[in-house]
Amino acid sequence: MAYKIVASQCTNCSACEAECPNEAISEKGGTFVIDPAKCTECIGHYDTAQCVAVCPVDKTCIIDAAYPRYQPA
């Protein structure tokens, strides 16, 4: 049900933070992290995950396999 950020690739540019419709992204310990409880994969807001679309480093915002895919209510 969520995306995650690969910390080692994140440039800390903060672009994703502003684009997330659910305020799921914040800075923690010098890098940006996604709160899996808040991330809806942008479903219901946009066609594509905003963090993925805006992130300057490919494959940095990725599906977190530790969680099942988000199911819209």
Binding site: T11, A15, E17, A18, A53
Partner: protein, 527 residues
């Protein structure tokens, strides 16, 4: 081939106020004056050629006015790291080519920290007159942080001019806010007006919640850039255009860009060389896209020059006002220390300093005109370049061996004309020991006939002579243009009498990177 960045580093030895005033008072005859920021300093525009309202805006701007460049400093703060496009010359892990200091991690500040830092530095350094928000990132992709910073600064330090650099994508939607905060200088980086060219420079943009790629992305970007430029011009906001010259991609095309931006009211066009090396990790760096040589850059700038004011003194840097404090003092302005500081902003003292500079500017123009009279009867069409080792103030006042950069002047019967800077310090290159330092310098000024220095040792002197570059130390601590013109007169006489033969010289290499404060250099070395 390496490519480069320039920068402006107006360095002064001391921050002692008396010393600064003294220096200003002594500063006469630096004829690099072109009030408009035109590159052609010797021959070009001052007050008279510009509409008064534009002159008023540029005369103290260290980026736009070649003349002001010697007296004023600007400062950039990095508050806006997010970006809404991707450029092939950018690796945002490090920096944005809007500012062009690859390999240097900028300190990220909150708007409150940034405002306090600006005011603290400005109250120590009267030269600090311009605050810019540029990269890394795009200020308009971070509108809340950018405008909050402007708001705070305009409250605390109303005499500081505000400027911002943008890729232009979000420009049209923010025009009114830009006008509201009295931002009077906007720089747009425009590398193309043809989406086919653009697609080779920009892999994607993020627009209306979508990532858009290819020609469509470049089309939208270009449309927004040009519309934003028109809207700024309509509102009387000064607008400069930066272009990155990418050989084989947009080099020829930049002549068209020049026309397009001129017709929409940009008052300056600054063509910068691509900065590209594999270690930057940029797309262009990794694909081996080269930057232009010094000659290629100058040829392109010359071909655009008739079209509009070109800017060559821009050294693509942050012109960090903190640099004015000297390396040992920049440590006093770390974020932690600034947050604890009590700042007393003395508007009157700053005004007094600026008035002295204004007088100085007048005196300088007169002195230059006297010098030029000496060349009045000259008809030779010989043109040569000369490199000058200077610490600033328009004087030949740097030792050859200490110079981190050289100013380049073109000398001809028309006088002297400032055409750019050449980096020679070893910034981030690694592997350049002392033994090759001299070769580095020679490569960087290989297109020059002479190098003017305050002092030079016997060994480098011989090596320079062998390379065909005349080391000139007889004008130590004198004014640059006055000395250069005087040397050039003698040169022409010698050519005429047959004592020497005139040869054209080869091309030179543009070195990468901007001059940076020591603190940052350490960061950079660690990368």
């Amino acid at each position: 081939m390496e490519s480069t960045a320039h920068h402006e580093a107006v360095t002064s030895e001391s921050v002692d106020m008396d010393a600064i005033m003294q220096q200003v008072a002594e500063h006469k005859g630096c004829g690099t004056s072109s009030g408009s920021g035109k590159s052609s300093c010797g021959s070009s525009a001052g007050e008279s050629e510009l509409p008064p309202e534009i002159w008023e805006k540029v005369k103290n701007h260290p980026c736009y006015s070649e003349e002001a460049h010697h007296h004023f400093a600007r400062m950039h703060v990095a508050v806006a790291p997010a970006c809404n496009i991707q450029c092939n010359y950018c690796n945002r892990k490090y920096d944005c080519a809007n500012e062009s200091r690859p390999g240097v991690v900028s300190e990220r500040l909150t708007p409150e920290q940034a405002a306090k830092k600006v005011v603290a530095v400005a109250s120590t350094i009267p030269q600090m007159t311009v605050l810019g928000i540029a990269g890394p990132g795009d200020p308009l992709a971070n509108p809340a942080k950018t405008f909050k910073t402007f708001e705070l600064i305009s409250q605390m330090a109303p005499d500081i001019k505000l400027c911002l650099s943008t890729n232009g994508l979000a420009l049209p939607e923010h025009i009114d806010t830009i006008a509201k905060y009295n931002v009077d200088h906007v720089t747009i980086t425009i590398n193309m007006v043809d989406p086919e060219v653009g697609a080779k420079i920009y892999p994607w943009i993020f627009y209306k919640h979508k990532r858009i790629e290819g020609i469509e992305a470049a089309r939208i970007l270009s449309e927004h850039q040009l519309r934003g430029l028109e809207m700024l011009t309509e509102r009387g906001i000064l607008c400069k255009v930066n272009s990155v010259m990418i050989p084989g991609v947009n080099d020829q095309h930049l002549v068209e860009v020049n026309k397009a931006v001129k017709s929409r009211g940009a008052f300056l066009h600054n063509i910068m060389p691509l900065i590209s090396a594999p270690e930057h990790g940029t797309v262009f760096g990794l694909t081996g896209q080269r930057g232009p040589s010094a000659q290629e850059l100058k040829a392109l700038q010359d071909s655009c020059e008739g079209e509009m004011n070109m800017m060559r003194h821009c050294r693509q840097c942050r012109a960090d006002a903190v640099g004015l404090l000297g390396e040992d003092r920049s440590a006093e302005f770390t974020t932690d220390k600034i947050m604890d500081m009590e700042v007393n902003y003395d508007l009157e003292a700053r005004k007094a300093y600026q008035a002295v500079v204004e007088q100085e500017r007048q005196a300088k123009v007169e002195a230059k005109n006297e010098e030029l009279a000496a060349l009045a009867d000259e008809t030779s069409d010989i043109k040569v370049l000369a490199a000058v080792a200077t610490k600033g103030s328009g004087l030949i006042n740097e030792h050859f061996g200490h110079a981190k950069e050289f100013q380049i002047y073109e000398l001809s019967a028309a006088g002297s004309k400032f055409v750019g800077h050449r980096r020679v310090d070893l910034y981030c290159q690694g592997g350049f020991g002392d033994d090759t330092a001299l070769e580095t310098v020679i490569r960087a000024i290989n297109d020059c006939h002479a190098v003017f220095v305050a002092k030079i040792g016997g060994c480098p002197k011989n090596d320079l002579l062998k390379a065909g570059i005349e080391p000139v130390d007889e004008f130590a601590h004198e004014f640059i243009e006055k000395s250069a013109i005087s040397w050039f007169k003698t040169y022409l006489e010698k050519v005429k009498s047959g004592e020497i033969q005139h040869f054209t010289r080869g091309d030179a290499e543009i070195r990468q990177g901007a001059l940076i404060a020591d603190e940052e250099r350490k960061v950079c070395d660690g990368v």
